[in-house]
C-alpha cells in the first residue's frame, strides 16, 4: 500500500511544474477580472495575517492579548492612582512652600524622604509615560513582524535537492557517512550539522529551526514566545530583548513608586494596613507578580546576547564544554561588546517572504505541506491536495486505532534524527530553563517557571504546544508526523521504505515522546 502510494505521490509532486505552467493561461484570464491576490493569502505556514499582510502573528494570540492587558492595566492603575496621590502632591507642595519661604507641617514630613525630595515632579510621570510607550512599541514590533521565516522551497528546488541526496546516497560502502538528510559544514573550526526540513524541503541554514507551532523554518530561531504571540528569530530578537528590558525598567519603576507611596502612608498607620487600604495595592500586586520573572528573563537574555547564543542552543547545550572538551561557539565574536552590538545594532535583514507581493501567474509556488495549510492554498493546487487529503484521512484512521498502544511502543521517528534532548527539562517555556542554567539568579526564579507552567496547565492544548517550544528542531510540525507511519515512503521520496529511516536509535527517547504526543494530538483533531 505504501509503495503504491509512493510513486503517484512522487509523480504528483514533480508534475506540479507542468500543471502550473499550463494553467496560468486559463487563470490569467480569471486574474484579469479578479483582484490580484497577495502572497500572504497563500502562505503555507500556520500564521495569521492582518492589515492586508502588514501584520504577521502566530495562530494562537490569546496570551498576547493577556500580555497587553496586564501591561496596560498595571500602568493605567499606576498613572491613575499615583498621579493624584501623596508622593507627587507632597513634593509639589514642598516646592511651592520653598518658593514662598514658608514651610508647612505637612511638607516637613516629606523632607524625610530623600529620593522624593530630590526628584523633579513632572519628570516622574513623563519618564513613566515614555517607558510605557517604548514597551508597547517594542511589543508590537516583536509581535507583528516577520521573525525571519524562510520561504519553502519551490518544487524545482525540492526536486533538485532530492536528486542530490539520491546521488549522495548512491554508493553504499563501509566507513562513516552522515545520514542522507544531514549535511555537515565546518564553521570557524566547529562541525555543524545542517538538517533537512521535511516540511519546507530545504536544508536548514545554521541556527535555523522549524517551529512546530507556526510550521515555518525560522532563521536564528530563539524560541516561540506565547506572550508575544510570535516566534522570536533573527529579525525580531532585538525588539523582543528591548521589550523585556524596557518592561523590567517599567516594572521596577512602578514597583519603586508604589512602595514609596505605601511607606509614606505607613508613617501614619502600619505598613500592612497602609498596604491594605491604599489603592496602590493594585499596581503593587500586578508589578510584583511579574517583576522577578521579567528581571530574570532580561538577565538570561542579556547573557545569551553577550555570548551570542540562542535560547534553543543554550537549552540543548550545543556549545557547552560538557558535550566535548573542544566545543565552543563558532558564531561568537569573542568579545562581549561586539556580540551585544551585533545582536542589537547590527543590520536588520529584510523579510524573505514578501507577504504583500502579488502572486505572479508564472511564479513557482512552494511545495505545500499536506497539513492544515490547505486553507491557504489557491484553487490551482486542489488536485494536488486531493491525494494528500486521502493520505491524511487514512493516516488519521490508523492513528486513532493505534493511539493507545503507541504511547507504550518503541520509538518510531522521522528520518534524519539529531542529538538527544535534555529530556524533561524541555517541559515548560524556555524561561523555565533559567533555573538549571543560571544558579546565580534570585531564588524566586522558579516563580517564573511556575507562572509559565500554570498557564500551560490551564490549557492542555497549550501544554502540548508549549512542550514543543524548546525542541522545535527535533519535533517537526505535527503535520508530517502522521505521514511517518503509513506514508513514510512519501516523506523519504525513495522508491522503498528504509527501515533505518523509520526506526531511529534508542537515544531518540525525547524525540519519541514529542512525536508520540504530536501523533496522539493529531488523532484527536
Amino acid at each position: 500500500m505504501h509503495l503504491g502510494l509512493d510513486e503517484p505521490m512522487r509523480e504528483c509532486q514533480y508534475n506540479q511544474i507542468c500543471t502550473r505552467n499550463s494553467s496560468p493561461m486559463e487563470t490569467s484570464g480569471h486574474k484579469k477580472k479578479r483582484t490580484p491576490r497577495r502572497k500572504w493569502q497563500i502562505f503555507p505556514g500556520r500564521n495569521r495575517f492582518y492589515c492586508n499582510g502588514r501584520v504577521m502573528m502566530a495562530r494562537q494570540t490569546g496570551v498576547f492579548y493577556l500580555t497587553l492587558v496586564l501591561i496596560m492595566v498595571t500602568s493605567g492603575l499606576f498613572f491613575a492612582f499615583e498621579w493624584n496621590n501623596p508622593p507627587f502632591q507632597m513634593v509639589t507642595e514642598l516646592r511651592f512652600r520653598q518658593a514662598d519661604g514658608i514651610y508647612s507641617t505637612q511638607s516637613t514630613v516629606n523632607l524625610c524622604c530623600p529620593f522624593l525630595a530630590s526628584n523633579l515632579t513632572p519628570a516622574i510621570p513623563v519618564i513613566g509615560g515614555v517607558l510605557f510607550v517604548f514597551v508597547l512599541g517594542m511589543l508590537f514590533r516583536a509581535s507583528f513582524s516577520d521573525p525571519g521565516v524562510l520561504p519553502r522551497a519551490t518544487p524545482d528546488e525540492a526536486a533538485d535537492l532530492e536528486r542530490q541526496i539520491d546521488a549522495a546516497n548512491g554508493p553504499s560502502g563501509p566507513g562513516y557517512r552522515p545520514p542522507p538528510r544531514i549535511r555537515e559544514v565546518v564553521i570557524n573550526g566547529q562541525t555543524v550539522k545542517l538538517k533537512y526540513c521535511f516540511t519546507c524541503k530545504i536544508f536548514r541554514p545554521p541556527r535555523a529551526s522549524h517551529c512546530s507551532l507556526c510550521d515555518n523554518c525560522v532563521e536564528r530561531f530563539d524560541h516561540h514566545c506565547p506572550w508575544v504571540g510570535n516566534c522570536v528569530g533573527k529579525r525580531n530578537y532585538r525588539f523582543f530583548y528591548l521589550f523585556i528590558l524596557s518592561l523590567s525598567f517599567l516594572t521596577v519603576f512602578i514597583f519603586a513608586f508604589v512602595i514609596t507611596h505605601v511607606i509614606l502612608r505607613s508613617n501614619r498607620t502600619g505598613f500592612l494596613s497602609a498596604l491594605k487600604d491604599s489603592p496602590a495595592r493594585y499596581p503593587f500586586t500586578g508589578a510584583e507578580c511579574v517583576l522577578w520573572s521579567i528581571l530574570g528573563l532580561s538577565g538570561f537574555h542579556t547573557y545569551l546576547i553577550s555570548s551570542n547564543q540562542t535560547t534553543n542552543e543554550d537549552i540543548k547545550g550545543s556549545w557547552s564544554t560538557k558535550r566535548a572538551k573542544d566545543n565552543y561557539n563558532p558564531y561568537s565574536y569573542g568579545n562581549i561588546l561586539t556580540n551585544c552590538c551585533a545582536a542589537l545594532c547590527g543590520p536588520l535583514p529584510p523579510s524573505l517572504i514578501d507577504r504583500r507581493g502579488f502572486i505572479q501567474p508564472d511564479t513557482p509556488q512552494p511545495v505545500l505541506h499536506s497539513n492544515g495549510s490547505s486553507m491557504y492554498t489557491s484553487t490551482q493546487l486542489h488536485t494536488h491536495m486531493c491525494d494528500q487529503e486521502h493520505c491524511i484521512q487514512s493516516t488519521k484512521l490508523v492513528l486513532q486505532a493505534a493511539a493507545t498502544p503507541l504511547l507504550h511502543s518503541d520509538p518510531v521517528m522521522m528520518g534524519g534524527g539529531g542529538p538527544p534532548l535534555p529530556g524533561k527539562s524541555s517541559l515548560g517555556d524556555p524561561c523555565a530553563s533559567l533555573a538549571p542554567s543560571q544558579p546565580s539568579l534570585p531564588s524566586s526564579m522558579p516563580g517564573l517557571g511556575c507562572a509559565g507552567d500554570m498557564l500551560i496547565l490551564r490549557d492542555p492544548d497549550t501544554h502540548c504546544h508549549h512542550h514543543h517550544f524548546v525542541s522545535p528542531e527535533e519535533t517537526p510540525s505535527p503535520g508530517p508526523m502522521p505521514l511517518t507511519l503509513p506514508c513514510a515512503a512519501h516523506m523519504t521520496h525513495g522508491g522503498h521504505i528504509n527501515p533505518a529511516q523509520l526506526y531511529g536509535p534508542a537515544s531518540q527517547d525525547s524525540l519519541h515522546e514529542d512525536s508520540v504526543r504530536g501523533l496522539v494530538k493529531l488523532s484527536s483533531v
Partner: protein, 145 residues
C-alpha cells in the same frame, strides 16, 4: 518585475530545458554567501571564469549588506532611539544594497546570460537560499547549442 518580463519574452521563443541551483555556502557562518563551484550543467553554456566572477561579485555585495561596522551601528542606534520609526521614512542599508544587487543581476542577465540562453534569478526571490539559473532551449533561434 524586469526578470519576469525577460522570462516571458524568452518563453515566447524558448522552452525551459532545466534549472540549475547554486546553493549557499555556510563555511563562513550564517552570512549570505553562495558556492562558487561551477555547476557541470553550465559547462557548455558559459565561461567558467565569467560565472565565478558573477557569483563572487554577488557574494561581495551581500557581505557589504551584512557588514557590521560603524555605519551599521550608527543606523542601529539611531533606529533604536527613534523606536524604529525612522524606517518609515528611510530604507535600511540592507535594502539599499538589495536594490543594487537587483540592478546588478538585471545587467548581468542582459549583457551576458540572456544571449547565452540563461537567466539568473535574484536570490531574494528564492528566500536567499539559492541562485537559480534557468537554462532555455532555443527553438526558433539556434544559439548556444
Amino acid at each position: 518585475m524586469a526578470e519576469t518580463h525577460n522570462l516571458q519574452d524568452l518563453q515566447h521563443q524558448a522552452a525551459v530545458a532545466s534549472k540549475v541551483y547554486v546553493q549557499r555556502d555556510y563555511n563562513s557562518g550564517t552570512i549570505c554567501r553562495f558556492q562558487t563551484k561551477f555547476p557541470s550543467e553550465l559547462e557548455s553554456r558559459v565561461d567558467r571564469q565569467q560565472f565565478e566572477e558573477t557569483i563572487q561579485t554577488l557574494n561581495n555585495l551581500y557581505a557589504e549588506a551584512e557588514k557590521i561596522g560603524g555605519k551599521s551601528y550608527l543606523e542601529g542606534c539611531l533606529a533604536c532611539m527613534t523606536a524604529y520609526t525612522i524606517f518609515l521614512c528611510m530604507e535600511t542599508h540592507y535594502e539599499k544594497v538589495l536594490k543594487k544587487i537587483a540592478r546588478f543581476i538585471k545587467e548581468q542577465n542582459e549583457k551576458i546570460y540572456a544571449p547565452l540562453g540563461l537567466l539568473l534569478t535574484d536570490p531574494i526571490e528564492r528566500g536567499l537560499r539559492v541562485v537559480e539559473i534557468t537554462i532555455f532551449e532555443d527553438r526558433s533561434i539556434g544559439s548556444g547549442r
